[in-house]
Amino acid sequence: MIDDILTITNLKKHFVIGHTGRMSGRNPITVKAIDGISFSIREGETYGLVGESGSGKSTVAYIAIGMYLPSSGSIRFRNQELFRGKEKRSREFKKAIQIVFQDPGSSLNPRQNIKQILEMPLRVTKSENNRMEQIIYLLEIVGLPPEYMYKNPGMLSGGEKQIVAIARALATNPSLVILDEPTSALDVSVQAKTINLLLKLQKEFQLSYMFITHDLSLMRNVSNRVAIMYLGKICEIADTIDFFRNPLHPYTQMLLSAIPVINEEEEKLKPEKVISTGEIPSPVNLPPGCSFHSRCPFIMNICKQVDPVMAEIEENHVVRCHLFTQPGSENGTSVPSNMIL
């Protein structure tokens, strides 16, 4: 059994964006960016987190590295709680969990050169001795020549900037790296190079990745397991191969059928009957029931009233949908009776 490196249990993050009513009976208006999600990342795996914009993927990432405090729930790193009240996160955890942001253009300081950018995490975590060697080593492992040290981010292409950001994340010898859409700002040919570098580094340093993206075809090729998020909740978790062979949740099917593909074989993998309709609703004042019911092609009465719970349909394949937990429904007949709501 492989141990879990990060375990998230019933995590919630609600942002207060305003208030209703007068001074006396004031009620906060909240955005439920994350509303009770649970999953765990195993040691050494690439865990894919997929969803549209506004689904809460990045909020999960920011909580994991400690930029936000969660509203409730627990997030444990190698069985140690990351958030203990208002207490500051210890340096050990900060070193162990690092992040690569989506847009390298804005995550690197344009006024610093690459040496200064890479020096900062080293200064915090490593001894002063042979600092230059440490920087050269960092550049070497990501495949950049040492003379890049004296360049500014403005002189690099988008792909190279992202590679510098990866080097910076590796400076503290992390064991979990959060990749928040690391290639969505890059061209496909550059994306391929960056992804290959990430996979190589993962092998070399036994890294675990939380890979956030909206690109399912990319996910198919890099991750071991996939979780699909919609409006702050997870609707499906499965092993990658199983997931693409047999997508269950209607939203997942909609996502898959919307991907533009380049050959016939891929076309066959797309569920045909689900055509994408509607848009992701505002996360303020969500309607009761399943948050996807406004767009779901298989909507039933219960969906508007009761929020479904996670149910394991096959081994390691979890879905949160009434279709699979209701007796007598189209697909639900094969569901074991103990799963029924």
Binding site: S189, S217, R220, A258, V261
Partner: protein, 341 residues
């Protein structure tokens, strides 16, 4: 192939930009044509000159810094380069419309959708000036219904910020098509949207151009979208058209090494990992490589590639490629043809 005259015919277009620090030779002899009713895709990485080509066609390139040093552009029998400003405005509204990548930037944030929409109808459609206010309003409403937007009356009174990204892009498409143009240029119409919304917008676009029989140029770097939307493709690299083919042929049998590499870097839904990408990066336009501009990155580079610029070899009537690898094929074919005769 079509016997009628081309709708758009661009010959040997050279565009450079004079900037601080030198002259950027961006477009280097671009040839491009399309017949009425065709749906043509233009594919290439960021910075390869796709948008510059389209801006030159619409004559919206700011000169200076841009210099159109040579070339001719004919649209619908008219020489675009020689048109006076008022004639040009007529071409832009009724002849060619454009949908931009970012609908948020394309719409003016301080005017309501109605004001912007009605102005487009008033000044661009053939009978616009003689219409009453009520007619224009009616036309705007039917145009919004056309792009499947609910509650058009309310929409016309709202500001762009009150709409979602997908709705804004629908408004832009509706606006572009409301003048019934002969040619629609869609510059990455789905790139800034989520994948399910992109799918909806593209499906709508496909249906409308079918209904109106509008010709379309679709600019994109997503190969899957090209495959699903167009019937002919141009592949562009560093200001050159490197390959042009019927869409299904391009995906079945890409010829140019760049096209092959580009297609192989796309992550597949069927899995199989990610290829290593294309080595190197797009050239510096200040001092572009001599001969074929792809030769420094080409896996099949030969001596001749750095000396001469390859012309387009037509392997099949609807499949041309600008690469010396196919020069011998052409001479062989010609020899065979003469022998048969």
């Amino acid at each position: 192939m079509n016997d009628s005259k081309p709708l758009l015919d661009v010959k040997n277009l050279n565009v450079s930009f004079s900037v601080y620090g030198g002259k950027l030779c961006v477009l280097d002899g671009v040839n491009f044509f399309m017949y009425p009713g065709e749906k043509v895709g233009l594919v290439g990485e960021t910075g390869c000159g796709k948008t510059t080509t389209m801006k030159a066609i619409l004559r919206v390139l700011p000169t200076p810094p841009a210099i159109i040093s040579s070339g001719s552009i004919h649209f619908d029998g008219k020489d675009i380069m020689g048109l006076k400003v008022d004639e040009l405005l007529r071409v832009r509204g009724r002849g060619i419309s454009m949908v931009f990548q970012d609908p948020t930037a394309a719409l003016n944030p301080v005017f309501t959708i109605g004001e912007q929409f009605e102005n487009v109808i008033k000044f661009s459609s053939s009978s616009g000036k003689s219409l009453t206010k009520k007619d224009i309003h009616q036309k705007a409403i039917s145009a919004l219904k056309e792009v499947s937007l609910a509650d058009p009356e309310r929409l016309l009174q709202s500001y762009p910020i009150q709409l979602s990204g997908g709705m804004r892009q629908r408004v832009c498409i509706g606006m572009a098509l409301s003048t019934n143009p002969k040619l629609l240029i869609a510059d990455e119409p789905g790139t800034s949207l989520d994948v399910t919304i992109q799918d909806q917008v593209l499906r709508l676009l496909r249906k409308l151009v079918e209904d109106y029989n509008t010709s379309v140029i679709l600019i994109t770097h997503t190969l899957g979208i090209v495959r699903e939307t167009t019937n002919r493709v141009y592949v562009m690299y560093a200001g050159n058209m490197v390959e042009m083919a019927a869409t299904h042929k391009l995906f079945l049998k890409p010829l140019h090494p760049y096209t092959k590499a580009l297609i192989s870097t796309v992550p597949r839904l069927t899995g199989g990992g990610i290829t290593s990408g294309i080595p190197g990066r797009i050239p510096d336009y200040r001092n572009p490589p001599t001969g074929c501009r792809f030769h420094p990155r080409c896996p099949n580079v030969m001596d001749i590639c750095s000396k001469e610029k390859p012309s387009v070899f037509n392997i099949e009537p609807d499949h041309g490629v600008a690469c010396f690898l196919y020069k011998s094929d052409i001479t062989n074919m010609k020899e065979k043809a003469t022998k048969v005769q």
